[in-house]
Amino acid sequence: MSRQSGLWRACLGLIRRDLLCVSRHRAEAANPLLFFAMVATIFPIALGPDPKALAAIGPGAIWASALLSTLLSLEGMFRPDLEDGSIEQLLLCPHPLPVLVLAKVCAHWLATGLPLLLLAPLLALQFGLTMESTTTLLLSLALGTPALSLLGAVGVALTVGLRGAGLLLALLLLPLYVPILIFATGAGGAVQRGLAPSAHLNMLTALLVLALTLAPIAAAAALRVRG
């Protein structure tokens, strides 16, 4: 077996393992998604039925909910591995750790980011978003949520196992999440003003590429120290 296919097999094995674990822990896995739906539903109720105001805040409200829900789900990425000791096996794997971390982030996004993306059109209805607005929102979520998971991996790798890690994690990550939030909601705002959202989406893509290349390396280094 060549080394390349060995690495590929290892990554697929990890993704499969993490998704299996999530699928057998459905109640816990559904929590962030429920949280997302709940927060995004509270906005229209709290702000009243004015369709104009709702459409204006819709993308921003959905994005804020997505961000908070991601923050809630991040701990699950490495904490179980640290608790049951399988993190050691990961660290001692004869494969590049950043690639394995990327596989774990991938599994995390499939379990939390993707369901969020699928639920978002339904929530967009609550805000009465136009077709165009909804499409832009989905595009920005598709580009932004993987970046949230990637940056989140760095934060979790640094704080996993610490007491009071939740608040520390939020403090660490919120500044990193702000640029993503700005460009994502900027795209929504541009559409509503009748402009093309492509500039914002391009920036979002750039952020995703940046996170994709740097975050796994940083998270792997943090795990080596913590493991």
């Binding site: 094995g13 499969r16 057998r24 794997c93 004869p94």
Partner: protein, 212 residues
């Protein structure tokens, strides 16, 4: 892994020299030298807190030592990291068994992460877990989880085994089985370092005692 690679070099397969580890301010051990040839099994004994686990983690490269170095086939393990890891199988204090996975699935993932030894079915058979293949990790007893963790060592086919208290929670029959596995590992030119309070159930094991 072929045993020729060890004999190609005149140096000992594993050489630990001047190793010193600290936990916080406390000095756990210092100036530790160990040379291990292919086919040798080494037991590390010592009272609780004497640094057995710390030593094993330092040899695996999980915890960097404060002084000294570990060489594998003549190369420092932090320089030839990937080559070293390809030859290494580590059984930690924790079993690393996922509560949500069945025994078979758990071992399958381990095999995907670093295969090269026994197949999943063979490894389960060696440690008598075949009948539990479809049982979820959460329903396993402590001893059964330990056996599953040992299966992982077998699927790796690694030349160097680092086993931290492998006999913890095992019944007597399984202890004998593990002893036989250690002997087989030594016969095929492999190395094993085992921490344990009790004498190993094999004939020729060197012992290093760590003081409290």
């Amino acid at each position: 892994m072929s045993p020729e690679r060890a004999t190609a070099s005149t140096e000992p397969a594993l050489s630990v020299s001047g190793l010193e580890c600290r936990r916080g301010e406390r000095l756990v051990f210092s100036n530790l030298d160990i040379d291990l040839e292919a086919g040798e099994v080494l037991q590390i004994s010592g009272p609780n807190g004497s640094g057995k686990t710390t030593l094993l983690r330092a040899i695996a490269g999980l915890t960097p030592p404060t002084a000294g170095e570990v060489r594998w086939c003549g190369r420092r393990i932090d320089e030839g990291r990937v080559e070293f890891l390809r030859d290494l199988a580590y059984l930690g204090h924790a079993d690393g068994v996922k509560a949500e996975l069945t025994v078979w699935e758990d071992l399958e993932v381990a095999e995907a992460l670093r295969g090269g030894g026994l197949t999943v079915a063979d490894a389960l058979d060696r440690l008598g877990l075949t009948e539990l293949a479809d049982t979820l990790g959460r329903y396993l007893s402590a001893g059964q989880r330990r056996r599953l963790a040992l299966c992982r060592i077998l699927t790796s086919g690694a030349r160097l085994w680092l086993l931290d208290e492998p006999f913890a929670a095992l019944d007597e029959a399984t202890i004998t089985t593990v002893g036989r596995l250690l002997e087989q590992q030594a016969e095929r030119g492999g190395l094993a370092i085992v921490t344990s309070h009790h004498p190993l159930p094999i004939d020729h094991a060197r012992v290093v005692r760590l003081a409290a």
